[in-house]
């Protein structure tokens, strides 16, 4: 039998049993659609996080105690503002150095309260990181030098505490101490499920006094250019090591952060794809199951075909093609469904989704392979049927 003929026979058989073919395909459709959708969500999330990390500002160098590695516990920082001065001397430009000392605290305004992150910072923060204000002004050098109790609210905090009032000039109590609102940040949105607008910036000196500490959690440096960023990092780490011989320090660039985040998100995407892959596998088992039923049901047809001259191979190829057709048609439909759903999710929900060609190719390839793998056993069984026995079957 010619190959083109075999395709036609297989297609006819599927058409003759439309409902069953459709139901069998459903398993593959769902499997492929979920592979495409979940990989799209994983990829979309990764892209968005990358955008955000890059959006922090360019040529950033983050200096923290301890090692930056996945799974490492944070280290209590031995850094103080004196160390920040030392780093500033290494960098040579105070405007390029930012610091943070952060802690969770309840912010209260009148009857309303919001648990948020209070960050003690220098006035350099908007220049080092890319942050812009929606209203008011940011902290000044004087605010920092005099430990003035003034605060800049993140968009979420502002909405939570002052839903119907202008927060500028109002009082907020942070951990029970009153601060005056001087500015509100422009919203940033979500990142990895974290609300980036849920924070309050106050002068680092005021924050240290609030918590009764000299500590600084981390230092951020905006390097003058990308080429010398690694070298600058090494010099800063060397200086800090000299000052604190017992502690290890790391200076990481955005590229390194992206690398680590990329690894995490890559694993996440992989896990999602694997889960979806399992459903595709289940769909494949369904195909196998239906093909076995189909072979049994069409035993007489097989017997008749053999009687009129079909070779075992002709019968086997026919059933194998049927299985492959089921999974590839199901695969194409699933791809369309997955792409459509991903586009909808991306447009209508906060979850980002991005279609990648490799996921489409993979899903389609896998569905075709699933058809072959799960079609082989039923096809062989059909090919080996004894025509006399087959014709006698009711």
């Amino acid at each position: 039998m010619r190959v083109a003929e075999a395709w036609r026979v297989a297609l006819d058989a599927l058409r003759a049993n439309r409902l069953r073919s459709a139901l069998t395909m459903l398993g593959v459709i769902i499997g492929v659609a979920s592979v495409v959708l979940l990989v799209a969500i994983g990829t979309g999330t990764k892209q968005k996080v990358e955008q955000q990390v890059e959006g922090l500002g360019s040529n950033l160098l983050l200096v923290v105690p301890g090692r930056i590695e996945v799974g490492n516990a944070p280290v209590v920082s031995p850094l103080t503002l004196k160390d920040v001065d030392a780093v500033t001397r290494v960098v040579g430009d105070p405007d390029r150095v930012a610091v943070t000392v952060a802690s969770g605290a309840t912010a209260r305004a009148g009857a309303r309260s919001d648990f948020t992150t209070v960050q003690g910072v220098l006035e350099t923060t908007p220049a080092v990181f890319t942050r812009s204000l929606a209203r008011g002004r940011y902290l000044t050098g004087t605010d920092v030098d005099t430990s003035r109790r003034v605060a800049v609210l993140g968009d979420s905090v502002a909405h939570a505490l002052f839903p119907d009032r202008d927060p500028l000039g109002q009082q907020v109590a942070l951990a029970g101490v009153r601060f005056r609102v001087i500015g509100v940040f422009a919203p940033l949105g979500q990142s990895l499920g974290v609300d980036r607008d849920d924070e309050v910036h106050v002068p680092v000196t005021a924050a240290q006094r609030l918590w009764g500490t000299q500590r600084v959690d981390g230092i951020a440096v905006k390097a003058p250019d990308r080429e010398r960023i690694d070298e600058l990092g090494e010099r800063i780490v060397a200086e800090l090591n000299r000052r604190h011989p017992d502690t290890e320090f790391s200076a990481v660039t955005q590229q390194q952060i992206l690398g680590v985040l990329g690894d995490i998100l890559g694993v996440l995407t992989g896990v999602l794809a694997a889960i979806a892959g399992i459903s595709l596998l289940v769909g494949g088992v369904g195909v196998s199951n239906i093909m076995l039923v189909s072979v049994r049901e069409r035993t007489r047809e097989i017997g008749l075909r053999k009687a009129v001259g079909a070779r075992p191979r002709d019968i086997g190829v026919q059933f194998l093609l049927e299985a492959v057709l089921l999974t590839t048609i199901g695969g194409l439909t699933g791809m369309a469904l997955g792409v459509g759903t991903a586009l909808l999710v991306d447009a209508l929900s906060p979850i980002p989704a991005a279609i990648t060609w490799w996921s489409l190719a993979l899903a389609f390839g896998v569905s075709a392979v699933v058809g072959i793998v799960f079609g082989v056993v039923p096809a062989q069984r059909a090919g080996r049927l004894d025509p006399v026995v087959a014709l006698r079957t009711e």
């Binding site: 039998m1 010619r2 003929e5 026979v9 006819d12 003759a16 007489r300 047809e301 017997g303 008749l304 075909r305 053999k306 009687a307 009129v308 001259g309 079909a310 070779r311 075992p312 191979r313 002709d314 004894d386 025509p387 006399v388 014709l391």
Partner: protein, 331 residues
């Protein structure tokens, strides 16, 4: 109408279409062996018209499956179209069936949801004939069986008689040398059955395809040019070899009956050599066959229960035939 066919025959006289020598077939059923055939020897010549009769369970269908290359003997030698089936692999057997054999089954075995013309064209699919040629040849064949106006009907849109005609067209579209029909009228009422039978005879006469037909109907069997009677897995009578048939005692348990039936060595004397009149044997000959046709058509009035198609009737017919079988075989 059989005369011209007989005149056509000499062409195929030399090479038998099928030759079985001491063929046996034993089934293994839950550890018990069932001897369905116990040494059958016979030769089918091109153009033959053979009726295969015998009580139910005597091995007629088993023998038909072997003759058609659907099954393999467990003993003996079977040569179909000049090829020894013992030396053939399954794909070669399939090709052999496709090229030399046409089957007509009691249950029609048409593909459902498939048009008549496509059903008929099916064997050509496995020959690699192009779709256009297939349709042409299948349509022509349907025309020959009187269904030129039913090309695109599905089996469920056709009567039993029409379905069997489609099956006959399918069996003949490949121009085989042998047409094997196992109770082709078994599922049909007697009027329709008679018409189908007449068609088979006509095709046998016109195209020279050998017709081997299992039947439980004595009158049908009487119309064949040759009658082979089976019992308990052996041939007990073959009208092509009346002497050996008469020599057979009714109960055949000692000795291999097949050895007494002259098969390949007796080629010149076999059916093809029996001559137009075919008067020998107990079958009544060709003249009787043509004369009996009208009576056959009248039978439904006489025996209305036969008019109900289906398995039950087929089995009942078998039981009835068994009773008539003994005098018929002994005659």
């Amino acid at each position: 109408m059989t005369e011209p066919a007989v005149a056509d025959r000499p062409a195929g006289e030399r090479v038998p279409a099928i030759e079985a020598v001491d063929v046996s077939r034993t089934y293994q059923l839950d550890g018990v062996s069932v001897e369905a055939l116990r040494g059958v020897s016979l030769t089918v010549q091109p153009g033959d018209y053979v009726a295969l009769v015998g009580p139910s369970g005597s091995g007629k269908s088993t023998l038909m499956h072997l003759l058609g290359g659907l099954d393999r003997p467990t003993g003996g030698r079977l040569v179909i179209g000049g090829r020894d089936v013992n030396a053939l692999a399954p794909p070669e057997m399939a090709t052999l069936r496709n090229e030399t054999i046409g089957f007509v089954f009691q249950a029609f075995h048409l593909l459902p949801r498939t048009s008549a013309v496509e059903n008929v064209a099916l064997p050509l699919v496995y020959r690699g004939v192009s779709a256009r040629q297939r349709r042409e040849r299948a349509a022509a064949m349907l025309g020959r069986v009187g269904l030129g106006h039913r090309l695109d009907h599905r089996p469920n849109q056709m009567s039993g008689g029409e379905q069997q005609r489609v099956a006959i067209a399918r069996a003949l579209v490949t121009e085989p040398t042998v047409l094997l029909a196992d109770e082709p009228t078994g599922n049909l009422d007697s009027v329709t059955g008679a018409a189908v039978l007449e068609l088979l005879e006509q095709l046998n006469a016109e195209s020279g395809v050998a017709l081997v037909m299992v039947t439980h109907d004595q009158e049908v069997a009487a119309r064949a040019h040759r009658r082979i009677t089976m019992r308990d897995g052996v041939v007990v009578a073959d009208s092509a070899h009346p002497r050996s048939a008469h020599d057979r005692p009714p109960s055949v348990d000692h000795g291999r009956p097949a050895t007494l039936v002259p098969a390949p060595s007796a080629e010149p004397r076999s059916a093809s050599g029996s001559g137009p009149g075919h008067p020998s044997g107990g079958s009544g000959g060709a003249a009787g066959a043509t004369g009996r046709l009208p009576r056959e058509v009248e039978r439904p009035e006489a025996l209305p229960r036969d008019a109900v198609p289906g398995d039950a009737v087929a089995r009942e017919g078998g039981a009835g035939a068994r009773e008539v079988e003994r005098p018929g075989g002994a005659a």
